[in-house]
Amino acid sequence: MSMKNKQPKTKVKLGKLEKREARAGYFFIAPWLLGVVLFLLYPLAQSFYYMWFNIRITPLGTKFNFVGTGNFTQIWLENPEFPQQLVTYIWQTIVEVPIIVVFALIIAIMLNGKIKMRGFFRLIFFLPVIIVSGPVMNMLVSEGAASIPALNVQSVVSAFDTFLPRSVAESVGEMFSNMIMVLWYSGVQILIFLSALQKVDPSLYEAAKIDGGSNWECFWKITLPTIKPMIMLNAVYSVIFLSGNEQNELINMIEAAMFSGTKEKGYGYASAMAWMYAIVITLIVGLFFLLLGSKKDVYDRQVKKAQRAQKKERRLQKKIQRRGKRNARNIESKLKSNKYRTHESSDNY
């Protein structure tokens, strides 16, 4: 096995064209970088700093009073609504996300088929995304447009109550009472699935059909594995959307705490709430990542295995070489100091 010799790193000077391209690259990502620094990293760091303080914004200036973990204690011990809402949010998100994703997938498959007025139906399903901005959604919800009138939510809760804890049953019931709204949240996900479905190579379906595969089999063996990364993408998108929209009680609670004038609340208290909420969201995203994260197929696994074996072999070779060199050095040094003894009468050795 040939050994790679260590090459000294050489600095390659960029040419004019490459420099120009690099500049153009930086120029194009500059707005994004600026946005991230100004509207993500800076507020993130600021809220992290704020959460250790009681902050009062007076007309004469802002007063910071260090309270350590006081805001967290206050939230958990004196605000019973926050933990309650947090539990409700966790259950609702875990239940609603699969519903949204499955619904979006079904609709996307239907819209990808050869149906009349396909463009019109695609528009219809995407329309809620455009019209359901904050105030419009609030008005629709207040008018009862988010629920199905014929659906008896109480009986749904009673049914679930028999085998689920009360809080979980209520969360599920809440989800049923907002069923239409949940389905309205699927517009973007439908679009993502639609684009993924259109990327599936038709020759795969043709081959499967020739081999006698049914539509059902094609869906499970071709469609689903191909669009699997998009399922995770949509699940994460749904989690983030459900966690940050205007209908979310926790978001409203954090906003109310932020602008609350009472002496306990304010920016510091709201920052503490927001950080705890952010950790919970991250955990939920992590959960969906674990459940839906793409696992490598058999071929990929074998390639990896072979690569690992090769790496191991190279390490062994290096080790043997190093040992050989070391032994040679030892013999040489002993020879120099005449400590190396061979058989004296070794003429015939």
């Binding site: 007076t58 007309p59 004469l60 802002t62 009073n65 602008f259 004038g261 002496k263």
Partner: protein, 507 residues
């Protein structure tokens, strides 16, 4: 190279110098504006702008601002309606655009953030303030139990009990005397609840204000300790045993079916056939514990009572003890001059004009008496939550009374009512430090009203615990708002007293 360096240094020095001069100039200009030149009344003669944020009818306040500006031509007033006090004011404070004068509905927010400046000097020197309804000065409404005045009552709506005379007549009952007592009211509510199963049931009471809120103040007699706030607040501590009696009585009335269903409930649909009906428009409720504005905004509008077959007259919220003169609980927005205001005296004049001042009220009466002036919704301004004067000025009151029914049949009811509401006591969140925290973190969070209303608990069970909680939240707020880290206006004895309450809490 050296020459260019010298040039660069010179340019830098010049820029710094120009900037420094410009900044110093700006500063001096501001300073001159703040101290400024004044006329013989102490009002600035400089051209200034004051901002006034409020909760009232926008058209009314804009017209009042015009009148104020005609009195003080060098002062420009810019008004804005507050949508949400906490959000709007904290955003304004953060942005450095805080109003010079504002009226608020939640005093805790204003005190916790030191929005209001001390206006004692101006208030005490103003002779007009001696001729206000007695409790304003007697109870120090706006002083928050300190020796300083941080706010003044701006908008006053007394609580009121209205009676539908048509219902009383239909049920062959007697109209009560106008200086009735609490027990007489309860008896009327019971007598007027009639369900003969042949038609729509008659209810004795329809409520906006819960009776327990009214009872706490109504239970105060002149011989007893002076209750100057909700939940039996006497200026330093609470006694919720007063509230508990009212709460239980109200709950018992509800459970026994004497109280009409609320709007947008299944019970209302079952009773009236329409989910959205308001009990005040059914003609089947005898007594109403309503806001004062309900008369002006609804019952008092043209054709309303004729349409629904009503004949509404006002009664004072009755006292428990049969006394002619007694306190009445009231909605009372508090207003103040902000701590960042550069022209506090001029701001005080604006505050007074918009609130309790005689000149302001004369201007208001001109506006209210002209039915052709309407707001953006097309409603005459007197029908848009018109408040009641706090001044006792006779001229103002004559003009004010003329805005209400003056016919022989109704005038005496209104006259008696106005005579009986001269000792207002504001609801807790306007006048008691820490009241909102107590409600938010204890009273409402455990849902006492619901527990008592649905019969699962007795109000008396909470008396001791709730009293201790209320005292704690009040003492904690007093220390926080007015102690060394706040306005710093408490004496050492007061601090020790409040600290003792806080330290003993929960032990």
């Amino acid at each position: 190279m050296k020459k260019s360096m010298k040039k660069l240094i010179l340019v830098c020095i010049l820029i710094v110098g120009v900037l420094a001069m410009a900044l110093t100039g700006c500063n001096k200009k501001n300073e001159k504006g703040a101290s400024g030149n004044v006329d013989e009344n102490g009002v600035t003669t400089d051209e200034i702008t004051l901002t006034f944020w409020h909760y009232e009818d926008e058209t009314t306040i804009n017209m009042l601002a015009e009148k104020f500006m005609s009195m003080y031509p060098n002062i420009k007033v810019e008004c804005r309606v507050i949508e949400d006090m906490s959000t709007d004011l904290s955003a304004a404070a953060a942005a450095g655009t805080f109003p010079d004068v504002f009226e608020g509905t939640d005093s805790d927010t204003a005190l916790a953030n030191q929005y209001w400046a001390d206006i004692s000097e101006y208030w005490n020197a103003d002779p007009e303030n001696k001729n206000l309804m007695a409790t304003v000065n007697e109870y120090g409404i706006g002083c928050f139990d300190t020796s300083k005045r941080f706010a003044a009552p701006m908008v006053y709506w007394p609580s009121a009990v209205f009676i539908d005379r048509n219902v009383i007549e239909k049920l062959n009952l007697e109209m009560p005397r106008t200086d009735w007592t609490w027990d007489e009211m309860i008896q009327l509510i019971k007598d007027a609840t009639v369900d003969d199963r042949s038609g729509m049931k008659y209810y004795g009471l329809g409520y906006y204000n819960r009776l327990d809120s009214l009872y706490g103040i109504a239970a105060c007699s002149s011989e007893e300790r002076a209750i100057k706030g909700e939940f039996g607040f006497n200026g330093t501590d609470f006694d919720l045993s007063y509230w508990a009696i009212g709460e239980q009585q109200f709950s018992d009335l509800k459970l026994a079916g004497y109280v009409a269903p609320q709007q947008n409930t299944q019970a209302m649909e079952d009773w009236s056939g329409d989910w959205g009906t308001w009990f005040g428009a059914t003609g089947h409720v005898a007594v109403f514990s309503e806001g004062f504005w309900s008369y002006q905004n609804l019952w008092g509008t043209e054709g309303y009572q004729e349409t629904y077959g009503l004949d509404i007259v006002p009664y004072v919220t009755p006292n428990v003890v049969d006394e002619k003169e007694h306190n009445v609980i009231s909605t009372m927005y508090m207003g103040g001059v902000s701590t960042s205001c550069k022209y506090p005296y001029e701001a005080y004049l604006l505050l007074k004009f918009m609130g309790w001042g005689i000149d302001g009220w004369k201007a208001r009466l001109e506006i209210y008496s002209d039915n052709t002036i309407t707001n953006a919704s097309g409603v005459p301004l007197k029908n848009s939550s018109m408040p009641m004067p706090l001044t006792l000025d006779e001229e103002v009151w004559n003009g004010y009374k003329a805005l209400f029914p003056t016919d022989e049949d109704h005038a005496s009811y209104w006259s008696d009512y106005f005579a009986s509401v001269t000792r207002p006591v504001p609801y807790g969140w306007y006048s008691i430090a820490g009241y909102w925290n107590f409600c938010d973190q204890y009273f409402n969070s455990i849902g006492i009203h619901d527990l008592v209303d649905n019969g699962t608990a007795k109000a008396a069970d909470y008396t001791e615990e709730a009293t201790e909680q209320a005292n704690y939240y009040h003492a904690e707020a007093m220390l926080s708002y007015f102690g060394p880290n706040g306005y710093n206006v408490l004496s050492d004895e007061e601090i020790a007293q409040y600290e003792a309450v806080v330290n003993s809490f929960g032990k």
